[in-house]
Symmetry: C2
Subunit: 407 residues, 2 copies
C-alpha cells in the first residue's frame, strides 16, 4: 500500500463539513475524575452512511436503531454517542430511551429523529440515566475542531483516544479521510464494545460506500482480537459529507481504489491502536498467516493465534514455546499440514517444513521482548491465502484490574 | 440419574482384570520434586477399545497412532502414557519415537506393538528423551492396586490426581466402572491436553462401546471449558476387560442403560474435577442453558458462558454484572430471544422475560462467593433444548503462574 499524507492530530472532523463535540454528564463513573461521556458528530443535511454491526445474537438498542436507519437508505446527518452504559438488555424502556436520544439530538441540530445515528457503550442491563443524557445533549457544543473531544467522549477503559486522518488526492482534488475508534481489550470490566467511525469529505456513491466499509472492516477491525467482533454493540460507520465536491466516487471512478486505500490506511492505524491498548498490554502482537488454502482460512488462523491465551502468555513470558502457535492454528478451523508447516517468531524460523529447527531459543526469547512481536506461520497447504491479525499480550496487570473490580 | 455405589479411593484398576503402575523418569521437570511421569495400564489379551480424539487439525503422534489402532478394530491390551512432552510437531522422528514406545511396552507385557495404545502430554515441538522413556517402561511395575500411581503419572499442572470408581448391578451381576483423567486449566504453561481413561470389567459389544463413549463424552468432558476440546493430544478411551463375565452388554441388553449411566456418572465426576482444578481456580462454575431451540444450541450457550473471560472475571470479582452472561450466550451461535430471555445467578433471578429484575445485587454478589457458582439462562426461544457445562473462575494466581514461566 502506498504512503499517505498523514495530518497531525487529525480525526473525524478533519474532513470538511464535519463538526463535533463532547461533554461530561456523569453517565460514566469510572475512577475519580469526571471524563467526557457524551459526544455528538454532525454533518448538516442527511447523507448516505454505510454501517457494519455486531454478529452477536444479543444486540444493544442503538444497534437495532442504526441497522434500521442504514437499511432504510435515507441517510443520516448526525451521530450521538454515550459511554458508560450500553443500553443493552434493557427491555422496552431501553428501546424508548434510544429513540428519545435520537429525538433530542435531532432537535438540537435540525434533523428528524430517523436521521440521527445512536451509539451506546458500557455496562449491559442497566437503564440509562436519561436526565443526564438529556442535559448532555442540550449542553454539548459543536466545533469544526471538535473531533478530539468526540474521540475522548466515546472511550470506556481505553487509556488514550484513538484518532487519525490523512489526505488523498483523487482526480486532481484533495480529499480528507478521518476516523476515531474506541477499543476493546481482551477483558473489560464494564463493556466489550468496539466503535469505529470513519469520515470523509469525498462525495461517494451509496453502494460503493457500503462495499468499501465491509471490505475495509474485514481486513482491519475484524482482524483485531476475537472478542471484539462478538460484543453486543460493536459498530463501524463510514460517513461521507460530500463537502469536498467534485465527481462522485463509485465503482466506475478511475481513482476509486486510491480512496479505498486511504480509508483502509486510517482503519488499519486505528485497528492497531485498539490492539496496542488492550488492558494491561505490554506489546502489540501481529500474526501473519500464509500458505493457507483460502483467505478465509488465513484469517481464521491469524485471528486464533492473536486471541489465544496460550500465545498471549507465551509473549508476555518471552517464552519461545512456539508449539502453542501450531496448536492455535490447528484449532482455528483452517486446514493445516503439520508435516509441511513453518513458523517464525520475529526473524527466527523455529519450525521449517514440519521439523523443529536448531535455533537458539535464547535469541528467540530476546526477540519477544520487543514492543511489537511478529509471529508468522506458513500453514503448509501450498495455497496462497494470506492474512494479518493484531492482538496484545496478556499481563498480570490486566487480571489485577479485573479481579479488583466490583460493581 | 440414579445414585451409585461409589468405591472409596477407586480408579482405573478397580474393575477386575486391570493392572497399572507409574514411575519417575525425568521427562517431566516442573518444580523441584521428582514427580511420576510414565504410567502403564494393562488388561491381558487385547479387547475392543473405544476412542475419541481431539478435533485440532494439528495432532500429537500418539493421537495418530491410537486413531489407527481404534479404527483397525483389532483391540488393545495395554496403554502407556508419558507426561512432560506431547510428542507433537516433532516431524518423522516423533512418529518413529511413538512406534518405539509401543514396541517397548508391548515386549514388556507380551503383546504386539499394534496392540498398545500410547499417550503423550506436555510441551509441543520437542523430541522425547527416548533413553528416559525406555528406562521408565522397563522399570515400571504393574499391580492390581496401581491405578493411583497411574493417575499421578499422567498429571502435568494438575494440583491433584483425578480418579474414581463405582459399582453397578446388571442382570444380577456386580460390575465396576473406573476412570482417571488429567485436566486442562484455561492456560497451562506446558500443555493443554485432556486425557480421560475409563475402564470396566463388564463385557460389552464393540459398537455399543464406541457409541456409549461418544454419547458420554459429549455430555461430560466436551462440556468442560472450551480450550480442552481443541488441544493437540486430547483423548478419551473406554476400555472393557470383560473380566466380570456374564452376558455381553450391547444395545439389546435389558440393562444397557444402567451401565451407560454408570459410565456417565464416573465421567461427570472426572469432568467436574477437571473444571474445579483449573489453574488458580477458586470456584467451580456451572452453567445450565435451557429454553434453547436445540440441544446443540444449549451446549453452545452453556460452553460459551463457562469459557468467557468476562464471565470468569465476573465470578472471581463477585460482580453481579450479569449482562456478560447474555453477551456470552449471544455470541455462542445459539439462537437467543433477548426480549424473552431470563438469567439466574445462584437462586437469584436477575433478568426475567427480557427485563432486568429489581433484585438486590448485594445478595447476588454474596451468592457468587460460594465454592460452586451456578448460572442458569433461559434463551427465550420456547424450545426445550437444555445442557450443562463446567468451568472455573479466573484469578490473579493463574496469570501469576503463567507470567512467571519461561522455558
Amino acid at each position: 500500500m502506498a504512503e499517505f499524507d498523514w495530518i497531525d492530530d487529525g480525526g473525524v472532523t478533519s474532513p470538511a463539513g464535519f463538526r463535533a463535540g463532547g461533554v461530561y454528564t456523569g453517565i460514566k463513573r469510572y475512577g475519580d475524575e469526571p471524563r467526557l461521556d457524551l459526544g455528538l458528530l454532525a454533518w448538516g443535511s442527511p447523507t448516505r452512511v454505510a454501517g457494519v454491526f455486531t454478529t452477536n445474537a444479543v444486540v444493544g438498542e442503538s444497534v437495532l436503531w442504526n441497522r434500521a436507519l442504514v437499511a432504510g437508505g435515507k441517510g443520516a446527518g448526525a451521530l450521538v454517542v454515550n459511554s458508560g452504559n450500553a443500553n443493552t438488555v434493557t427491555g422496552e424502556q431501553g428501546a424508548r430511551d434510544c429513540r428519545r436520544i435520537a429525538e433530542l439530538a435531532a432537535s438540537k441540530v435540525g434533523l428528524q429523529p430517523e436521521e440521527v445515528l445512536v451509539g451506546s457503550t458500557g455496562v449491559i442491563g442497566r437503564l440509562l440515566p436519561m436526565d443526564l443524557v438529556e442535559q448532555g445533549i442540550r449542553s454539548v457544543e459543536l466545533a469544526e475542531d471538535g473531533g478530539a473531544r468526540f474521540a475522548r467522549a466515546i472511550m470506556t477503559t481505553d487509556t488514550h483516544p484513538k484518532e487519525c486522518a490523512l489526505r488523498v488526492k483523487i482526480g486532481g482534488r484533495d480529499y480528507v479521510v478521518g476516523g476515531c475508534a474506541k477499543g476493546s481489550g481482551m477483558i473489560h470490566p464494564n463493556m466489550a464494545t468496539m466503535f469505529a467511525f470513519l469520515t470523509t469529505d469525498a462525495p461517494v456513491g451509496g453502494a460503493w460506500l457500503q462495499a468499501t466499509l465491509r471490505s475495509v472492516v474485514d481486513r482491519t477491525f475484524n482482524m483485531v482480537d476475537v472478542d471484539m467482533d462478538t460484543s453486543t454493540s460493536d459498530m463501524g460507520l463510514l460517513i461521507s459529507s460530500g463537502a469536498g465536491g467534485g465527481q462522485v466516487v463509485d465503482g466506475s471512478h478511475p481513482d476509486e481504489e486510491r480512496l479505498r486505500e486511504g480509508i483502509q490506511a486510517v482503519a488499519t492505524r486505528l485497528a492497531r491502536a485498539i490492539a496496542r491498548d488492550g488492558e494491561g498490554a505490554r506489546a502489540l502482537l501481529e500474526a501473519v498467516a500464509e500458505g493457507a488454502a483460502s483467505v478465509e482460512d488465513a484469517r481464521r488462523a491469524a485471528r486464533t493465534i492473536v486471541s489465544s491465551p496460550l500465545v498471549k502468555t507465551m509473549v508476555v513470558g518471552r517464552d519461545p514455546n512456539w508449539g502453542r502457535v501450531m496448536m492455535a492454528a490447528g484449532r482455528s478451523g483452517a486446514r493445516v499440514d503439520q508435516r509441511r508447516a513453518s513458523v517464525w517468531i520475529g526473524e527466527h524460523c523455529v519450525l521449517e517444513g514440519g521439523t523443529p529447527t536448531p535455533v537458539d531459543l535464547a535469541l528467540v526469547s530476546r526477540a519477544m521482548a520487543a514492543e511489537e512481536v511478529r509471529i508468522r506461520i506458513d500453514l503448509g497447504t501450498g495455497g496462497v491465502g494470506t492474512a494479518t491479525a493484531w492482538g496484545c499480550d496478556l499481563t498480570e496487570d490486566y487480571v489485577r484490574i479485573n479481579a479488583d473490580y466490583t460493581t
